[in-house]
Symmetry: C2
């Protein structure tokens, strides 16, 4: 199967690396909106200008879109969905229905197949919410994120005057995890579920107290959480906070029996050294399914919910039943 990468940041490089681990996949090229002559891929695969991609239509089975959800993907995915089978990691939850409709219309118009909102959340966490809810309908699920770097929250801190760099870790609160695992189905506020740990490099002349207040009172991002702010040097930021770890938990507890006498717990947990590389692994597995489903004539927009798991694996149905069932 022949894949193209569109966008060559952390996620695009992750997809390039993930394709190396998939012998049934081949990377045709990287498409970038930068000057292609300024971009060197890690594996030496060719780099093309983004607006040349239509000329490569016949060589590409699916395009993995590695742009951002804020401004890139809402435009990019519908635009490419007409001519290519595409897969994206659009993760602005509230806008997923609108994005789905736009991509679905484009893909159907072109007779192609698109899969949106693929990764770990949305993605694997969504799948686990669905499976657990279908199995234990009388129950409640909880999603915890972290410990990991939230890029959106880090960016929000960087926009505060006097901040040179920032890293925000989302941290699940152990007591909340324990309460959920107990099966008591507690009601938990945002503050009870997660802490926010901020590491900030301030300009030499900055008012640190003002920065700390600006962070802790920032609506939506921090005001509803217990937040810690630690000022560190640029050197310490580089040494200790250069990685992009993440992870989290989807936990559902529910009751069964004629008198609700039995409690069950389903827990799915991820611990990731590199958020973009893991997301890339999910994208490449689902790109395999998109290729197969498109070859069987499926068109329009789908999500991870619509993919039979067997289509994700390079193994045959017979091998899967023998080795994994």
């Amino acid at each position: 199967m022949k894949l193209a990468i569109y966008g060559y940041g952390n996620l695009g490089r992750g997809v390039e690396a993930a394709i190396l681990k998939s012998p049934d996949m081949e990377l045709v090229g990287v498409f970038t909106r930068r000057d292609p002559n300024t971009v060197r891929t890690h594996t030496g695969v060719k780099v093309f200008a983004a607006d040349e991609i239509l000329a490569h239509k016949s060589e590409i089975d699916a395009v993995v879109l590695c742009g951002g959800s804020a401004t890139d993907l809402p435009v990019l995915t519908p635009r490419l969905a007409k001519d290519f089978n595409v897969i994206d990691s659009f993760d602005t939850h509230a806008n997923i229905p609108a994005h789905f409709d736009a991509v679905d219309a484009a893909a159907k118009a072109g007779g192609k197949l698109s899969l949106i909102s693929c990764g770990w959340d949305p993605g694997m966490f969504s799948l686990n919410r669905l499976y657990a809810g279908a199995i234990l309908p009388d129950g409640k699920d909880y999603t915890f994120w972290g410990r990991g770097v939230s890029q959106g929250h880090s960016d929000a801190i960087r926009r505060i005057p006097g901040v040179l760099d920032a890293r925000q870790y989302t941290v699940p609160i152990p007591e909340a995890l324990d309460a959920v695992r107990s099966g008591k189905q507690p009601e938990l506020s945002a503050r009870q579920k997660h802490l926010r740990e901020c590491y900030v490099v301030a300009a030499p002349d900055a008012d640190k107290a003002a920065i700390e207040t600006a962070i802790k009172t920032m609506p939506n991002y921090f005001a509803d959480y217990d937040t810690t702010v630690t000022f560190i040097s640029a050197e310490e930021m580089r040494e200790k906070h250069g990685a992009l770890p993440h992870g989290g938990f989807v936990i559902r507890t529910g009751k069964t029996g004629f008198s609700d006498e039995h409690t069950h717990r389903i827990e799915y947990a991820l611990q990731l050294d590199s958020n973009p590389e893991f997301t890339a692994g999910v994208l490449v597995a689902f790109a395999r399914a998109v290729g197969r489903m498109a070859a069987r004539g499926r068109t329009g927009c789908i999500t991870v919910f619509d993919v039979a798991p067997a289509d994700l694996s390079p193994l045959s149905g017979e091998e899967l039943r023998r080795m994994l069932l």
Copy 2:
């Protein structure tokens, strides 16, 4: 959707309870090989003789087979698969390929759809092995069972002369779980992964030392494990060991990056108060999918690997994307 239950033991009663939690499901009746007049269902639903089931063909969308894997299902599932959409929990791993072929032929001959080997292992654990392996191809997965009652091992002890009753708990060894979670991909023997705890009620005149030796040296079942044997009274057995809890873990760790520099862990864990009731919940969710897929014209035999998750949920595609993605 109209379901029938075939076989009314612990699992059949679990399915009856699970259907009560699914407003889109209706239980048409219970079919039993016992005298129907001797069987009273919990909800009062009608009981029929097993060999009358063909007369009810037009009223049933799918039959949930609640028989045993050793002797019942290998005969029963292929026999019913010709006339009904059926779902079973066949769990003799080594015989799954042969069972699949027999059921597939029967279902295709009758233009019906069957799903075999559904539950939590095989079932949800299998799905998690597949998903994790597709996402992290350069990795290794481990399955741990317990702490929970193994009915097969309990039965094996009961067959020893002088044993009146027995309960065997399979217990994952914490050090093995820790070693797996570390990402080091250890090689672990059967003895290193699980302990076997046995509680035995012996006949008054039995030779307890001989029973203990017979258990600990039993090939396949106990000889390869560290096994504890505790003799208890019939009363203590009734009071403390009447439930059927189970659970376990599927853990995969794997590496990503151009130099394998990042390690990731995916963990799926179940903790179940009642093994048969949880299994029943899985069966009912997949029965929903079987009904939908059959209505779309799918025939033959499938497994959990072949079911798009969206088909498990009573929610529409639009609701799933809005609420769970």
